[in-house]
Symmetry: C2
Subunit: 233 residues, 2 copies
Amino acid sequence: MIHNRNKCEKCIDSQNSIFKVLNQREKELLTKHRICTNYKKGEIIFREGDRPSGLICLCEGKVKVFKEGVGGREQIIRMAKPIGFIGYRAMFAGDNYISSALAIEDCEICMIEKEILIKLIKSNSDLALEFINTFAIELGFSNNRTVTLTQKHIRGRLAESLLFLKDTFGYEEDKATIKVYLSREDLANLSNMTTSNAIRTLSSFATEKVLAIDGRRLKILNLKELSKISELG
Amino acid sequence: MIHNRNKCEKCIDSQNSIFKVLNQREKELLTKHRICTNYKKGEIIFREGDRPSGLICLCEGKVKVFKEGVGGREQIIRMAKPIGFIGYRAMFAGDNYISSALAIEDCEICMIEKEILIKLIKSNSDLALEFINTFAIELGFSNNRTVTLTQKHIRGRLAESLLFLKDTFGYEEDKATIKVYLSREDLANLSNMTTSNAIRTLSSFATEKVLAIDGRRLKILNLKELSKISELG
DNA sequence: GTTTGATTATGTTATTTAACACAAATATAA
DNA sequence: TTATATTTGTGTTAAATAACATAATCAAAC
C-alpha cells in the first residue's frame, strides 16, 4: 500500500464515472478530498470487520471481493474492474465490512471522504439516483447469484462463472481469451466448488472443445455451447 | 386483488416508515398519488417478468418473494412484513421484476407512482439517503445469504432460516412461537433443500428438544442450541 | 541453479443430499 | 357427510460432490 502523488484522473472525470452528473465545482471538491493509493497484486485492500473510512474507487487493476464462510471457505461475491466502487455497501449501510477485498492485479484506488460524498449526494439528487441505481443493479445480480450457486450443478455453475468473467472483463485482442487470469482456486471460490472439481470440470470443457486452456489463459471456443451448459444448470 | 377505498394510514405516516423524513406537503403529494389494494392469501402480487408500475408498500399481511430456478425449483429470496417495500429493486433498476411476490396472508398494499416517487427523491435528499441505506442493508443480507445457502449443511441452513423468521416476524405472546406459519415446502424453499429434508430436519430438531412442532406452529425451545446449529453450519 | 512452496492434475472413497416411492394425516370442496 | 386434493411423514436408492491422497508441474526465493 503506497500513497500516490500522481492522482488518477478517470475516477472522477471519465464518462463511465458515476460522477459525470456533477458540475465542475462539485468535481473539484471531490478531487480535493481524496487519497490515491497503490496496491500490489496479492495485497489486501480491506478485511471483513474493518471500518470503512470512505468510498473506494478502483481506478486501475482488478479486485476480488470475498467472504469467509464455514471453516474459512472463501466465496467470491464480486469482481471489480475500473472504474468501479468497492466496499461501498458497508460505507452506505454504516456497517463494518462484511467482505474482504484483494488486489488480483496491481491496483490504483482513490478513497473519497464519506462526509464529502454524503454532502454531494445531498446537494445533487442526480448523484443520489445514480447510487440508488447502482445498488439496484448489484442487488439483482446478488439475488441471481444466490439462486444460481444453490441450484445449478457444477458444470452449470462453472460455465456461468466463465460467462460472468467474460462479460465483466471482456476478451483479449483474439476476441476469445477471457481478459482475467484467475487461479483454479479462485475459479472454484467464485463457483462454489472445490478446487479439484474446478480443475476437473475445466478439463472436461477442454475435452469437449468448449474451452482451450493454456495455464490460466482460458479461451472460449464455443460460446453457444458454454451458454447452453450454463442455462441447463 | 381488490382496490380499496379505505386507504391505509401507516405506510406513509408511521414512525417506522421511510417517509418519516418528508414534510406534510410532501406526504400529501404521496397520499394523493397512490392506489391501495387488497390481496387474499395465496394471490400473486407480481410475477417474474412483469413491468413494475410503481413502488409497492406492504401495509398489512406477509409476503414471500421468490425466484424460479432450475427446473422451476423455487428459492425464497426475501420475506416482507409491514411496513416494508416489495419489488422496489426492479423499479429503481428500471428492470422488469426478476422475482415473484405472493401473499402468504391476506394483504393490503399501496402502490405509489414511480414519477411522484422520483420527484420526491429529487427534492428531498434525506429520502434519497433512506433508500440508499435500505438498499445497502438488503444487499448485505443477500450477500450473507449467498454464502449461507451454499456453504452450510442442511441443519445449519434450516436453523438459520428459523432464526431469520423469528428475527423478522417475532414471537407470539408465548415469546417462543415464531409468528409466521409456513408450509414445510416454503421452509424448504427458503433454506435451499427438498421438502422431505425440511420435514426430516424439523423432526430431528423436535427430537432434540430444540423445537416444539404443532402443525405449522414452530416453538423455539432452545434458542442457544438453534443458534449453535446455525453457526456451526 | 537448486531448493522450496504453491498450483495444477488425477484417482479413490466417503458423505451429503436429492430423487423417488408410498403411506398417513389434514384440509378443501362437492 | 364423503370424496378429492394437498400437505406431512418416512424409508430406500441414486446421484452429486466433497474430502482425501498423491503426483506432477510451475514459480519464486535463496
